[in-house]
């Protein structure tokens, strides 16, 4: 353990390790993106779902710098998993041995007072510190003048004014990082009242014996007064709880309140620093943000603005992506044909076209939706609107045990569960986040649309109900509502059982509005797409090939005199997938299905819309000819001559698809986002199982109740 040693210097061969920390909404990530550009690697901190983003850049003289973007934190008080991680990394207790050479604290020049709280904690860790005084331009606009040399003098670390969104101050900042690495680390700049100092002395000594250097020991002693949980990074120190209680008692004995000491001491010092360094134009004037909020948070106007923005996001993900998706599919199809053309007819050709290229296509086809959704989320987050949306939705979501921030992922689920689940990263609380992931796939996604469309068009008559709404439209609407209501109900259920826990009280900063930075937006969209391709994409591709093999083998002798589609049907019926369809026929019979629907359901595990093309194949009409398939389905009879499909069976089938998790992409993303590894598989398993049970139960109930009511 190197924690007792002084700050490390980078050796000649290794890069300078810089950890970036800062309050949320300080432009920390924008600054990180401005420093590193696209050279970023996204992963998770060991054992938790907190995202770990590491980037790199090179100085003009060739020196390398590795940058770790620590999660946004208001303090090192470890109130959230994010803050805990930040503290562990800075103390080199996160088990990854990534001890920073320099800590870069990003400070919002407009809210210097609050931001200096975290900065003052970091300055006591015994590591060289550089402060980036970000959003320097906005501070000037608000009439805030900061005396930078005086601030450097007061805090005792280099301070560089920056405007990360415009790339200003980045070069001086890079140089300052190297300069700081050579400077002695800063130390505490204030003294505690003597009686507090004395009360804490035994605890500080105890922490030092536990392996902490003097500075961090003093920082921890003061910080721990306000914290009551056992903390992992200090778990190796014996009898810490006893020492801590003794210190608290001693402080109470001299008439102080232990929990208040840290904030009183730090803010007391910060107040002095502010007096020396900051000049403010007459305060009390209404800011632009206040004027925007007057509309955006208005009792009536607020929800209207919110609905309008959500409608725009939904529409964009739903329809703007469609032409791009069509184009991607066309290109993949064309490439597949091009590659396959010289190949002889047979399994290899089929593997290339139906396995590999179809698999690649089913991965890439999600990219437009992911890119569009994350571009919108980026704009909403960077502009400051996301906090307002969470504020507005909090009331509704709280009733089912979720946070206001769960709303956006769930709404995205209407377009596609994959980006929706990825969007749950904005939710701080782990239990709330998992509960949201669990229910996002219940929102009817765009891949269910072809299934609904086929079945409704075939079996539900267009009886007019209201002006502008017929029975077909109403059925479609009912399917969407069913999924939504179920999602809210299941979320509430999860929060009362497996993911129990209090909903954290509403405590949210509403940051000042600002224009998003295009560069930072581009980096984050690019990162999301890459992450999806690397992690989920590989699983989807592998599963596509497995499904292709199951549908192709074992081979059977087909009658070459039959039309091609009929040959396909014969082959499929005798394949492993067909065998599976026959095997599960007894299970699906209570729902009114035969083996053909069974096969289609199993095959649609690749993606729901495959249901339609598989039905097309089985009935030998091809996937492209919707009218022929509809006609064929209406005429299909069972062995006893009764029609195989009735409107009731069709509605039951739709209900099945509302609930069933027939989508391996979603499963792959859930595995990753629920924590990866065994934990990820566990939650993905729970998700798949409960949704299948719900689907089966609801479909059975629909068919049984329908029959009891006299529908066929």
């Amino acid at each position: 353990m190197t924690a007792t040693a002084g700050p490390e210097r980078p050796t000649a061969t290794e890069p300078l390790r810089v950890a970036i920390i800062g309050n949320p909404n300080t432009g920390k990530t924008t600054l990180f993106n401005a420093l590193t550009g696209l050279r970023q690697r996204v992963g998770n901190f060991a054992g938790v779902t907190v995202e770990r983003v590491e980037g790199a850049f090179r100085m003009p003289d060739g020196r390398r710098v590795a940058v770790l973007d620590l999660p946004g934190s208001y303090s090192l008080s470890a109130g959230s998993p994010d803050e805990r991680i930040a503290l562990e990394v800075l103390l080199d207790r996160d088990g990854q041995h990534w001890r920073p050479h320099v800590v870069l604290v990003v400070v919002d020049a407009c809210h210097l007072e609050r931001n200096l709280f975290l900065a003052s904690q970091v300055c006591e860790l015994g590591l060289p510190v550089v402060i980036a005084l970000n959003q320097f331009d906005m501070a000037a606009e608000q009439g805030i003048t900061i005396d930078v040399p005086e601030l450097i003098h007061a805090i005792g670390v280099p301070v560089v004014p920056t405007v990360a969104s415009r790339g200003e101050g980045i070069e001086p900042l890079k140089k300052a990082l190297f300069t700081a690495a050579e400077l002695p680390p800063p130390a505490r700049r204030f003294t505690l009242p003597p009686e507090i100092e004395a009360s804490l002395a035994p605890l500080v000594t105890h922490l030092e014996r536990g392996g902490l250097a003097r500075g961090p020991a003093e920082m921890e002693a003061l910080r721990l007064l306000g914290v009551r949980r056992g903390e992992k990074h200090l778990a190796h120190i014996p009898d810490l709880a006893r020492e801590l209680d003794a210190a608290r008692d001693a402080i109470r004995a001299v008439g102080h309140t232990p929990e208040r000491e840290e904030s009183e001491a730090r803010y007391g010092w910060i107040g002095e620093v502010m007096q020396r360094t900051v000049r403010r134009r007459a305060a009390g004037t209404e800011t632009t943000s206040d004027r925007v909020d007057a509309v955006v948070l208005h009792r009536l106007g607020g929800p209207l603005v919110f609905l309008a923005i959500m409608a725009l996001v939904f529409q964009a993900v739903f329809s703007w992506a469609a032409p791009m998706q069509d184009a991607i599919e066309a290109v993949i199809h064309w490439l597949g044909a091009l590659v396959a053309a010289p190949l002889p007819e047979g399994d290899l050709k089929s593997l290339v076209v139906d396995g590999v290229f179809a698999g690649v296509g089913s991965v890439l086809v999600f990219l437009p939706q992911i890119a569009i959704l994350f571009a919108f989320i980026g704009v909403l987050e960077q502009s400051g609107y996301m906090a307002r949306a969470a504020f507005l939705m909090d009331r509704v979501m709280r009733r089912v045990g979720l946070h206001g921030k769960s709303f956006i992922p769930m709404l995205s689920g209407y377009a596609c569960a994959v980006p929706g689940i990825m969007a749950t990263r904005t939710i701080d609380d782990q239990q709330e986040r998992l509960a949201t992931i669990m229910v996002v796939p219940l929102m009817s996604c765009s891949a269910r649309l072809p299934v609904y469309t086929l079945l409704i068009a075939t079996f539900v008559p267009a009886l007019p109900l209201l002006p502008g709404l017929d029975l077909q439209g109403a059925t479609m609407l009912a399917m969407y509502l069913l999924g939504t209501v179920a999602a809210l109900a299941v979320a509430a259920l999860f929060r009362k059982t497996l993911l129990r826990g209090p909903v954290r009280p509403m405590l949210l900063e509403l940051p000042a509005y600002r224009w998003p930075s295009p560069q930072s937006l581009w980096v984050s969209v690019w990162q999301r797409c890459l992450l999806f391709l690397r992690r989920a994409g590989t699983v989807i591709l592998a599963l596509s090939i497995v499904l292709w093999a199951l549908a192709t083998y074992p081979k059977t002798a087909v009658d070459p005199s039959l039309p091609v589609e009929a040959q396909h049907e014969q082959q499929l019926a005798h394949s492993a997938l067909g065998g599976f369809g026959h095997a599960i026929e007894p299970a699906v019979r209570p729902l009114g299905y035969d083996w053909k629907i069974g096969v289609s359901i199993v095959a649609s595990f690749a993606a729901r819309e495959v249901f339609v093309s598989t039905m097309g194949t089985i009935y030998g009409v091809g996937a492209e000819d919707d009218a022929a398939l509809q006609d064929r389905l209406r005429r299909e009879t069972r062995a006893d001559g009764a029609p195989a499909y009735t409107p009731l069976v069709a509605v039951g089938l739709m209900v099945f698809y509302v609930f069933a998790l027939m989508c391996m992409s979603t499963i792959a993303v859930t595995i990753r986002e629920a924590g990866g590894g065994r934990l990820g598989w566990k939650w993905a398993g729970i998700q798949f199982a409960y949704m299948l049970a719900l689907a089966y139960g609801a479909a059975w109930l629909t068919v049984t109740a329908g029959r009891a009511l006299g529908f066929a």
Binding site: Y74, S75, S77, A78, G79, S80, C110, H111, E113, R114, F117, L118, G226, V227, R228, R229, T257, E259, R260, E262, S263, E264, Y267, A283, S289, D290, D293, L297, R299, A387, F391, D394, R395, R504, P505, M506, L507, L508, E509, L510, P511, A512
Partner: protein, 89 residues
Amino acid sequence: MTAPNSRELPVCTCPLVDSETGSAATVVAIECGESEACRLRALGLYEGAQVSVVGKRHCLLVDVSGTRLALGADLAEGITVRPQGRIAS
């Protein structure tokens, strides 16, 4: 941090929820879950800080040294303040 002459006046405190919209107040005590208390203090809402309620909905909108915070009513219930606007009236 306290208002001038506050010693001569009867000390009148109330939960933040009941504080008047638009008038300044000094935080006297914070009683809530430990991690929330930590978070509030880090956000600049500590004992002795100046705050003012700028709006009341299902949550409170509070100004804390230039930052807007949305606080759940349950949380605002546990924050005791000494209103400053009342001294004059």
